[in-house]
């Protein structure tokens, strides 16, 4: 394999991983606070359509990303209100959020079908992004650097700040956290909102980073893969990074295998397209073989908190 091809594959892989990484980082924080939000796919679709619409109308991708994050946070509040304030079943409400996001994005996106936007490309000068070697560091969208920064930021927040400690305490033992005076519900509202924002921005990566147009259901189940990645990472942000890039590589293989031809042609393209989903199942199996999932999962994950007084 030539160095050019290797670098091209790395750049494609990083791009394909970014939406997964962003959405999964958000969900990781949500789950650390003890809440299981299965609506990631719906929030990503919402962010994707809003991000596209705003970028298309204003021509400014930065505004598009802001709007996508805001929209994701807004729809996540429906989930937060139902599960945290009305104690609704988290699994069912998360599913409802995904169905909602699919419906909303399909309806809202119809007006934008077939309309092109520009990809949100690297903001570095040409001599860096065109350089045969250095482009591996510089030829990425600002969204990529943002996602990497967020891995660090989430990690720092969870393990080095007081607020992060409180959030983890709420997820590990809600009643104790409540009895020493922390508001379990408020912390969880905040975590769900952050998760919604990250999923919204992750969704916006599809039109801004991968294919610059609106296609109904363009996330193709990536929100669910993000949920699996959180399990894979054992709720650790740095392992999430490795997991997301691994999946990005699998998704990239489909593109390059088709282009490479030769021996790869024997494998039908539908099998390549199935690989990320099959790999997700395989990863879930490997993890449960390795160690008991329950040991690393937040103790209160998915359980409703009803204040005793």
């Amino acid at each position: 394999m030539s160095i050019d091809l290797t670098i091209a594959i790395i750049i494609t892989m990083v791009g394909a991983s970014t939406p997964l990484l962003l959405a999964a980082l958000g969900e990781l924080v949500v789950e650390k606070s003890g809440v299981l939000n299965l609506g990631v796919e719906g929030m990503m679709l919402t962010g994707a359509v809003v991000g596209f619409a705003v970028t298309y109308t204003t021509g400014n991708p930065w505004l598009g990303i802001l709007a996508a994050g805001f929209a994701g946070a807004c729809v996540s509040m429906i989930f937060a209100f139902l599960t945290l304030s009305l104690f609704a079943n988290q699994v069912a409400t998360g599913l409802a959020l995904t169905i909602f996001g699919a419906g909303f994005s399909a309806l809202f996106g119809q007006a934008f079908t077939g309309k092109p936007i520009k990809l949100f490309k690297s903001i570095f000068p040409d001599y860096l992004t065109d350089h045969p070697i250095l482009r591996v560091f510089f030829d990425h969208s600002p969204l990529v650097y943002f996602s990497l920064f967020m891995v660090f930021a989430v990690s720092y927040f969870l393990y080095k700040t007081r607020a992060g400690l409180v959030l983890r305490a709420v997820g590990e033992n809600d009643h104790s956290a409540h009895s020493i005076g922390y508001s379990v519900i408020k912390v969880r509202y905040g975590a769900v909102g952050f998760g919604g924002m990250m999923a919204g921005i992750g969704g916006a990566c599809f039109p801004l980073l991968l294919t610059p147009q609106w296609v109904e259901g363009l996330t193709g189940g990536r929100g669910w893969i993000a949920l699996a990645l959180v399990v894979f990472s054992a709720w650790k942000p740095t392992r999430l990074l490795a997991g997301a890039y691994l999946f990005g590589l699998i998704a990239t293989m489909e593109v390059y295998a088709k282009a490479a031809g030769g021996g790869f042609r024997i494998i039908p393209s539908e099998l390549w397209a199935s690989l990320p989903y099959l790999a997700t199942i395989l990863v879930l199996v490997l993890i449960s073989l390795r160690h008991k999932m329950s040991s690393s999962a937040p103790a209160c994950l998915g359980k409703p908190f009803i204040p005793s007084n």
Binding site: A92, A96, I99, G220, I225, V231, P268
Partner: protein, 356 residues
């Protein structure tokens, strides 16, 4: 002022029945408001989506056709959800069932006889069960979450469908269209009433709902499912195997979704086409919840969701409402139902702040 929730000693049966009806009514009100804000004819949308399919007798057959798969899949899912087993990949099992039935139809294409349809039905059920086999195995052996595995396999089923109808199963006479040959006369569901489009799927759906009701309320199995779902420790103490229950409810829900796939492919479609995955497997999740996970409730909820589908098509032609609006109405219904659940399990007390 402060709002406090106090857990009821027992869930309110009155509210259990009232909240789904309330959710549908509130969806209509809220829907009219939201769609007016979005710049559509909100009242018209609600009228066309929820009322026209009921008042226009020409639409009743459409209702029966659309409700059948929703009810069959919904009944299966509701049994699983009762046991706290979350199969959300019914869409994949529906596709796998349709594909297995198609395979059987292609295999027996030169044959004739009444037994072809039952054979296809069995193939469909086995196809659906095969697609849920891996999630069931992984859940019971390795405690891998069935939510993610069953959903992942849905995407794989779609790819398998594409592979087959673009490749080995493509009809040689379809002028390049990705579809199989038409099934022969013995492989197509009979019409129940002459001159309508209602095929055997609708009465089968009703029959399955009634059978499921009898089994769930009268048999030990029904009791076992409910106990494993609501009181796993008591179930273990009572000698009910949790793993066996998981296997059974997953195979039932997969088998029924597969059967629904067979009835669709041998019914309205008469061949396998790319449009086969119509989202019934996902909508059936709403059906199961709206029907309160009770087979007869699912029967009614299946008709309600069918109304929104048929009404969505009406609204598209009469007032130009995009078809995607239906999905939004359906999601709204589920949100409102879940919000209403609080009334089933809690007493809401409003406490006015008193001056000291």
């Amino acid at each position: 002022m402060q709002i406090r929730f106090e857990k009821k000693l027992e869930p309110s049966r009155k509210m259990l029945f009232a909240t789904p009806i309330l959710a549908v009514i509130l969806t209509m009100i809220l829907g009219a408001i939201v769609f007016s804000i979005l710049g559509y004819d909100g009242l018209g949308a609600v009228r066309e989506i929820f009322l026209t399919p009921l008042t226009n007798s020409l639409k009743w057959q459409d209702l029966a056709v659309k409700a059948a798969p929703l009810i069959i899949i919904g009944v299966g899912l509701s049994i699983g959800y009762r046991a706290n087993v979350w199969n959300i990949g019914a869409e994949g099992q529906y596709i796998a069932g349709g594909l297995a039935a198609t395979g059987m139809a292609l295999l027996t294409h030169n044959m004739s006889g009444w037994y072809l349809l039952p054979l296809m039905g069995i193939a469909g059920m086995l196809g659906g069960m095969a697609w849920v086999f891996l999630p069931a195995l992984l859940r019971t052996k390795l405690k891998v979450n069935e939510i993610l595995t069953s959903l992942m396999l849905t995407y794989v089923a779609i790819q398998l469908l594409n592979y087959l109808i673009f490749g080995p199963w493509k009809s040689p006479t379809s002028f390049g269209q990705p579809q199989t040959v038409l099934f022969n006369d013995w492989q197509i569901l009979p019409y129940i009433i002459k001159g309508t489009i209602v095929q055997a799927g609708a009465p089968i759906a009703v029959l399955i709902a009634i059978m499921a009701w009898l089994i769930m309320s009268k048999s030990v199995f029904g009791f076992q499912v409910r106990t494993v779902g609501s009181a796993p420790n008591a179930a273990r103490y009572g000698g009910f195997s949790e793993n066996k229950t998981i296997w059974l409810v997953l195979l039932i829900s997969g088998g029924l979704a597969g059967l629904a796939g067979m009835l669709e492919v041998a019914g309205p479609f008469n061949r396998m086409v790319p449009q086969f995955p119509a989202g019934y497997g996902f909508t059936a999740i709403i059906v199961a919840f709206l029907g309160r996970l009770h087979p007869i409730g699912v029967l009614i909820a299946g008709v309600v969701l069918a109304i929104t589908f048929v009404g969505g098509e009406v609204a598209q032609t009469t007032i130009g409402l995009p078809n995607a609006a239906v999905g939004l109405f359906q999601a709204m219904m589920l949100f409102l139902l879940l919000a209403g659940d609080v009334l089933v399990r809690y007493n809401i007390k409003i406490i006015r702040a008193r001056r000291a």
